[in-house]
């Protein structure tokens, strides 16, 4: 297979104006969403860890725009952008960050665990490399049922060192599964640079020994990413075999909000920022006459207002009730009839039984939900500084 080295890509021609505008809008939405999420984190509206995809917007939008509606997308703990690009309501994504009931996952998953079944965004996952076997499983189910949908599985350069990487490449190739694996190579596995964590830095080659050919795209260029991903998806869909795509990109912000970035120089970041996908793509559209500069600014203002509304929505959404603590651990049915805890469940009622009728005050953990902020050790240092 022809190797696609594109760093930077030659511009293969912009998509038609309506499409180009929509891509810019989608990239803007992710950028403004992520910036605001960072601000909300600093204000302690968002808990846990927060991994922002600023700088990776072209990789996200270029690749997801190559998908059909019924295709599956699965990603990592850096997935706000993926679920937004797939069409999730920004209100609900922000509400999930806030841990509220109107969040995509009702406040259960938080930043690292987004999921939107309706839009076939099959999840963000907190275990590095944990999502690869799942992606192969989606592809197996598609293949088994004779459906022609394809799975696009995104993960970072760091995940290419996990055992699941090799295992999944082998199985996907062996079973000829329709799945495209995309390494979002942002140059760092947390704070460890690519050349310090991977013996082979041409990541597109890492699948070859398992029978998975590689392609590479310029992940700072939405058009190139779209074109290469489109090729890869077509091969997976029509020829029924997996493809590995390395999208070369860069994250402008730290790994998470708790990252003092001592592992890279400001000069390196500045060099990559010259290729800011949002700026470069916006400039291209203006130069091509697809968008006026004033329209571009208006689009940006509208995007910021959209995020304002998402923040207001999230802030107004209630915290989950203590009554919800045990919901959805199990699918309830004949065998598992109560949510409290199955090791307490018996044919006749005792503690915890018939819990839907219980008063909130009777719930075992009600007292712990009286409000107050739980400290988050690793991130406290960064709070308020970003």
């Amino acid at each position: 297979m022809a190797e696609r080295v594109a760093q930077p890509a030659e511009h293969a021609g912009l998509p038609e104006p309506g499409v180009a505008r929509e891509w810019l809008q989608a990239m803007m939405l992710i950028r403004r969403f992520e910036e605001r999420a960072g601000e909300m984190y600093a204000k302690a509206k968002v808990g846990g860890f927060l991994h922002l995809a600023i700088g990776e917007e072209a990789t996200i939008v270029g690749s997801t725009r190559a998908l059909r509606d019924q295709d599956y997308l699965i990603s990592t703990y850096r997935s706000h952008g993926h679920t937004l690009a797939r069409g999730s309501d920004p209100n609900r994504v922000m509400a999930e960050l806030f841990g509220r009931v109107d969040g995509l996952c009702r406040g259960r998953g938080g930043s690292m665990h987004m999921f939107d079944l309706e839009n076939r965004f099959m999840g963000g996952y907190g275990i590095v490399g944990g999502n690869l076997p799942l992606a192969a499983g989606f592809a197996l189910a598609s293949d088994y049922a004779g459906r022609d949908e394809v799975t696009l599985c995104q993960f970072g350069d760091g995940a290419s060192n996990q055992g699941t990487f090799g295992e999944t490449m082998n199985l996907a190739a062996l079973w000829k599964l329709p799945v495209v694996f995309m390494i979002t190579n942002n140059q760092f596995g947390m704070g460890t640079s690519l050349e310090r964590h991977s013996a082979i830095t041409d990541l597109l080659r890492k699948g070859e020994g398992f029978g998975v050919p590689g392609m590479r795209c310029d992940g700072m260029d939405a058009v190139d990413t779209y074109n290469v991903t489109t090729d890869a998806l077509r091969i997976a869909r029509e020829e029924r075999r997996p493809i590995l795509v390395e999208a070369v990109t860069y994250r402008f912000r730290g790994h998470s909000m708790a990252d003092p970035e001592e592992y890279r120089t400001k000069e390196q970041v500045d060099e990559w920022r010259k290729r800011d996908p949002l700026t470069v793509f916006g400039d291209q559209l203006v130069e091509a006459g697809i968008l006026g500069q004033d329209e571009r600014e208006a689009m940006d203002r509208e995007t910021i207002e959209r995020i304002d509304r998402a923040v207001a929505f999230a802030d107004a959404s209630p915290h989950p009730s203590p009554n919800d603590l045990y919901d959805d651990i199990y699918v309830l049915g004949d065998q598992v009839r109560g949510w409290y805890s199955v090791d307490e469940r018996t044919p006749t009622p005792h503690r915890g039984e018939d819990e839907t009728g219980m008063d909130r005050a009777d719930l075992p953990h009600a007292a712990e939900h009286g409000g107050g902020v739980t400290p988050k050790p690793a991130d406290d240092a960064q709070r308020g500084e970003d």
Binding site: L174, I329, Q335, R345
Partner: protein
């Protein structure tokens, strides 16, 4: 019918009933399974539904999770419970958590089958009994069938359930015979314990093979000591039929828990806590635990034999509950 044949017939019937039921595992097809549980299924159902996999435990379980999320009802066989630790990430961080962490948007109707148990001189990497590891995890259902009838009935229920199930078989039990109802709808509901022997003097709870050891000990207790033991096989640990155990303890006022696994954080430790929380006033003696030795399983036959419980230890533990009367 032998236990392994009962499992085989459950797999066969459920595959016939539901075209979305499929099998994955190491050497389950051409080789017919390391313990022959899947014998003949490849021939009858074909390569699409009976899939030999590479040796990649974590990934084949993870693929099962993914396939379960998108419409299939996969059954993954792991060759021993020791190997399931390689898949712990997919079982615990993924299968058990996905429904909850995604707010109930998806279900994971996956069964992961694995045998456990000592006695074949397989040493410390093939012989352990770890139902306690999976009992620990919310989001999983855990079955530990002892008889052939339960092996079949529980496996059918596991396959039909919409939750992820860790289905723990036993290497010693594979060859044991038992009556199995000749009924395609013979399903044993999770969360209902079996009273293997009725008695009024002491309650013995036996897990997996230890339900048989407990039943033999009960005969000795009756014949040699005039003690009538009630033997309970919980059959599933999540959900657990605690009420049947509590009702028995309230009657006998004594309890012994027998398991093959390690003592610390074991099934018996958990059961003892639950029983004393809810039936403290009914107990006439401290709850006794009979467990595997607190060691990695040794290869040496005599050492291995003393590293997991046998009938005399169960008898001694029961007698200990009478000592202070």
């Amino acid at each position: 019918m032998r236990y392994r044949e009962a499992l085989n017939s459950a797999l066969r019937e459920e595959m016939e009933r539901d075209p979305n039921v499929m099998l994955m595992g190491e050497d389950i097809g051409v080789f017919n399974g390391a313990f022959k549980v899947t014998a003949g299924l490849l021939e009858d159902f074909g390569e699409k539904r009976v899939r030999d996999t590479p040796i990649s435990e974590n990934t084949i379980v993870g693929m099962g999770v993914g396939a379960a999320m998108t419409g299939l009802r996969p059954i993954v066989e792991l060759m021993t419970i020791n190997f399931s630790l390689l898949a712990m990430d997919q079982i615990v961080n993924h299968a058990a958590s996905i429904r909850y962490m995604f707010g109930g948007q998806v279900k994971v109707p996956l069964v992961v089958r694995m045998p456990q148990g000592a006695g074949h001189q397989l040493g410390p990497t093939h012989s352990h009994s770890w139902e306690a590891l999976y009992l620990h995890v919310p989001g999983l259902l855990v079955a530990v069938p002892t008889t052939a009838a339960d092996a079949k009935g529980l496996l059918k229920s596991a396959i039909r359930d919409d939750n992820p199930v860790v289905f723990i078989e036993h290497e010693y039990l594979y060859g044991q015979r038992g009556e199995v109802p000749d009924d395609e709808d013979h399903a044993v509901r999770f969360g209902v314990a079996a009273i293997r022997r009725e008695g009024s003097d002491v309650t013995i709870v036996g897990i997996s093979r230890m339900a048989l050891t407990a039943a033999r000990a009960a005969k000795t207790l009756s014949a040699e000591h005039g003690i009538e033991a009630e033997v309970i096989d919980p059959r599933t640990l999540r959900p657990l039929d605690l009420d049947t155990i509590l009702a028995s303890v309230r009657k006998t006022n004594r309890c012994v828990v027998v398991e093959e696994g390690w003592p610390h954080g074991g099934v018996g430790a958990n059961l003892a806590a639950l029983i004393q929380e809810q039936a403290f006033d009914d107990l006439d003696a401290p709850i006794q635990r009979v467990t595997g030795a607190d060691v990695p399983m040794p290869y040496s036959k005599p050492l291995e034999q003393i590293a997991f419980p046998h009938e005399p230890q169960v008898v001694d533990a029961v007698l200990a509950t009478f000592r202070d009367r």
